[in-house]
């Protein structure tokens, strides 16, 4: 910075145009959903530890697998898995929304609002469906 200032021969530094940051924009649903997409992505990133643990435990033997089963069967484990399910489905549906934009569709205000709502409602409904099917597959809650 000092070098730049020293090298400047035109007196006071001109203020350069800067790119506006988040706070100048109106808070819209699409804006919030964009944040959620990134947050769920980061959550799923660390959630991959669970998938790795699951696979390694299964490959290690019955003893290691029983620890995994104990954790996932506990209340905390179930809450984590429920959150993971929602994050995964939210990121997936939100990702489909981004792919639709990538091919140049869905930019009208009404379409954007609809897709944002569909991501919220769809991800919650799908999470519930997956869990109901999961419990049915196990033969009821245990």
């Amino acid at each position: 910075m000092t070098e730049l200032e020293a090298g400047s021969t035109t007196g006071p530094r001109r203020s350069r145009p800067i790119s506006p940051h988040l706070q100048v924009y109106k808070l819209t649903l699409s804006f919030v959903m964009s944040g959620f997409h990134r947050i769920t992505g980061a959550v799923l990133y660390f959630g991959m530890l669970l998938i790795a643990w699951w696979l390694i435990a299964a490959a290690s033997g019955p003893n290691a697998y029983s620890y995994f089963e104990w954790f996932m069967g506990s209340l905390i484990g179930r809450l984590v898995l429920f959150g993971y399910t929602w994050a995964l489905l939210h990121h997936m549906i939100g990702g489909i929304r981004h792919l639709i934009w990538d091919v140049g569709l869905g930019f009208e205000p009404a379409e954007r609002e609809f897709m944002a709502m569909a991501t919220i409602v769809g991800s919650i409904l799908l999470t519930l469906v997956v869990w109901v099917v999961g419990y049915l597959a196990m033969g009821g809650p245990r």
Binding site: G41, Y45, G134
Partner: protein, 124 residues
């Protein structure tokens, strides 16, 4: 002075052009099918004994789908976390450290998971 052509040849500051952007789209499309497959596999394994889980996870179709899921996901999440780091971490040394940590984490998760799937498939 750089002409537009030299910018194109140089492929921008990262020297890889839009490769990460495009690969993130490719892995996201593949990820839709693979995530649905993962959910179905997990539901099918709920409440089963360890022996049954090993047998199902080690069967060729399931193991291949799981391997595809792991490889696709760790690449997708590597690009995604790199983008987050580049957006928020501006201090050079910290940026370098977090970018390296991202690579090590994704590589470690990917290799460990792939090894586990292969062990389930081939036994021993």
């Amino acid at each position: 002075m750089r002409t537009p052509m030299s910018r194109v040849r140089g492929l921008g500051a990262a020297h890889t052009g839009t490769q990460d952007f495009w690969h993130q789209r490719v892995t996201s499309v593949a990820g839709i099918a693979l995530c649905i497959a993962l959910v179905i596999i997990v539901i099918g394994l709920l409440g089963r004994s360890h022996a049954a889980v090993v047998q199902i996870l080690g069967s060729p179709i399931v193991a291949i789908i799981m391997l595809l899921f792991i490889i696709n996901t760790v690449y997708h999440m590597w690009i995604g976390m790199q983008e987050i780091i580049i957006d928020y971490v501006h201090e050079d040394k910290l940026k370098l450290a977090t970018l390296l940590a991202n690579t090590f984490f994704c590589f470690g998760i990917g290799l460990a998971s792939a090894f586990a799937i292969l062990k389930l498939s081939f036994g021993v």
